[in-house]
């Protein structure tokens, strides 16, 4: 692509002197606010069960179990694309990557619209699931290393802003979807196909704006007045580890489990939050209030991404994850007690803190990777570590649902069935705490020699220059 479209080459997006680095976070947000729509996909589920019947499901209409696979496939391909495209993203640069993500995510909606119009579910699996999922993964990873290059002094804050956008994307996507479906619905249509078309176009345009706006700093650029610390923290390296070499380090796998366990515990409780608050406080918390609780959780999920990642710039990444795990163990163990005490306020507070740390875990990991493995391949390594998210996305809900059903089958009351689950999630966090404890600086044998670092930079730029 860089050979055919020189406009997209890395060399063409090197920032001119005087460029304000604060233009880069909104470029990243322009992408993440779009792809974050994935978390709001469920608003389409009910209307999609009535595509034929319109006012109610007809015999040939899709079932919820059939539709549930659309989101699952998208998340699987998010993980796969982030993992396998990571190296390519580092090579081609953020403009190509973000534009590719725009084509995939926007195009996925259009293919899905065709699937709704033709009532062919495989087109939705292919469209939103496979193609859109690839857009999710590439779009998620592509701005990260660029932000870290622009903000060496505030790695956590900068990546936290972008990844906060992923959380915020659902808050835009959900009401936008409802608004558009309402506008397009008629006596003969639930309005989903046209909504997909409009949203696909909007998201494609917005992500392209981000791709056009993104810039890379010139070689040797530093923030005005910033000097790298003379005695950097032990876990902050000035060396670089190659993306393939990183897989051979214990630090990569320890970090993988840190993310997987933090996300598993969080996903496990997010899924049951609404039901849990209603069953634990039966008669006091209505379904509407529970829905409000879920909304509040999404706000804290989003806010936690920015707040905790920014805090990690001062606390250090390892300490921040210590806080996630230690405080998390305490909170998970406390939640059942708040139910027995009858305190809705304490229950809500515990959950909101837990969810803020769930988001914070996602947002802090890129800066942790940059600290431990250096910045040269941070995007690619980040993409590979995100497979932990995919694993947790499957493992978390399965574990929670299995545990709950096992207890109910053995006579445990529904309201009490969550207690053991929360204790087991707390135990997972103990393991996560230990994994974080064992993370040490990478052995120098894994570091790239300086001439190899220079060579890989030159190859990347030469590939871009050939396009011109």
């Amino acid at each position: 692509m860089t050979g055919t479209f020189g406009f997209f080459s890395r060399e063409r997006i090197i920032a001119a002197p005087g460029f304000n680095r604060w233009l880069v976070p909104p470029a990243a947000l322009a992408v993440h606010l779009c792809i974050g729509q994935a978390y709001a996909f469920s608003v389409f589920n009910a209307p999609l069960t009535r595509v034929i019947g319109i006012s109610q499901s007809a015999p040939d209409d899709w079932k919820l179990t059939t539709l549930g696979w659309i989101f699952s496939i998208a998340i699987v391909f998010l993980g796969l694309s982030a993992a396998f495209a990571g190296r390519w993203i580092e090579k081609v640069g953020p403009r190509v990557a973000m534009f590719t993500a725009a084509c995939c995510f926007g195009g996925g909606f259009l293919v899905s619209a065709l699937g709704v119009w033709a009532h062919q579910i495989w087109l939705l699996y292919l469209g939103y699931g496979v193609i859109g999922g690839c857009g999710l993964g590439i779009g998620y990873v592509s701005p990260v290393s660029t932000l870290i290059k622009w903000f060496p002094d505030r790695r956590g804050m900068s990546t936290g802003m972008a990844i906060m956008g992923f959380g915020g994307g659902a808050m835009i996507g959900a009401p936008l979807s409802v608004f558009l479906m309402h506008a397009f619905q008629s006596a003969t249509s639930v309005g989903v196909a046209k909504t997909f078309v409009v949203m696909g176009i909007i998201y494609f345009i917005s992500m392209c704006i981000g791709a056009l706006a993104v810039r890379l700093p010139a070689a040797g650029w530093k923030p005005a007045g910033w000097v790298a610390p003379a005695t950097p923290k032990k876990l902050v390296t000035s060396n670089h580890v190659h993306i393939d070499q990183a897989l051979r380090t214990p630090q990569f796998w320890l970090m993988w489990w840190v993310l997987c366990l933090n996300v598993t515990a969080g996903i496990g409780v997010i899924g049951q939050a609404s039901v849990m608050i209603q069953e634990s406080f039966s008669g006091r918390v209505t379904a509407a209030a529970a829905a409000g609780f879920v909304g509040l959780m999404s706000l804290f999920n989003m806010g936690g991404r920015f707040v905790w990642a920014s805090a990690s710039d001062y606390l250090g990444r390892k300490t921040t994850y210590y806080v996630f795990f230690a405080l998390g163990i305490f909170l998970y163990a406390m939640v059942p007690g708040t139910g027995h005490m009858g305190s809705v306020a304490l229950f809500v507070l515990c959950y909101l803190l837990i969810i803020s740390m769930y988001g914070g875990g996602f947002a802090t990991i890129p800066a942790y990777i940059a600290d431990v493995f250096g910045t040269r391949f941070v995007g690619g390594i980040h993409g590979r570590i995100l497979t932990a998210w995919s694993a947790a996305g499957v493992f978390g809900p399965v574990l929670v649902n299995y545990l709950r059903q096992y207890q109910i089958d053995h006579g445990v009351a529904k309201a009490d069935s969550y207690t053991v689950t929360m204790y087991i999630m707390a135990a997972l966090l103990v393991v996560g705490f230990l994994c974080n404890l064992f993370i040490r600086p990478v052995h120098e044998k894994h570091h790239m020699p300086q001439d190899e670092v220079t060579e890989t930079d030159a190859i990347a730029l030469a590939g871009s220059a050939a396009a011109d």
Binding site: G168, M171, I172, A174, G220, K222, A224, V285, A289
Partner: protein, 42 residues
Amino acid sequence: MAEIVPRQHGNGWLLIVFWLYVGIPLAWGVLSTLGKSMALFR
């Protein structure tokens, strides 16, 4: 390597416009979610 210190000029209006471009939809989404969240306190 030589330190390149960018002069911060000429980006003011673009900065404001771009941050408003992402900030306004985000604020709308947050307020919309906050409104629904209030059901918890009723």
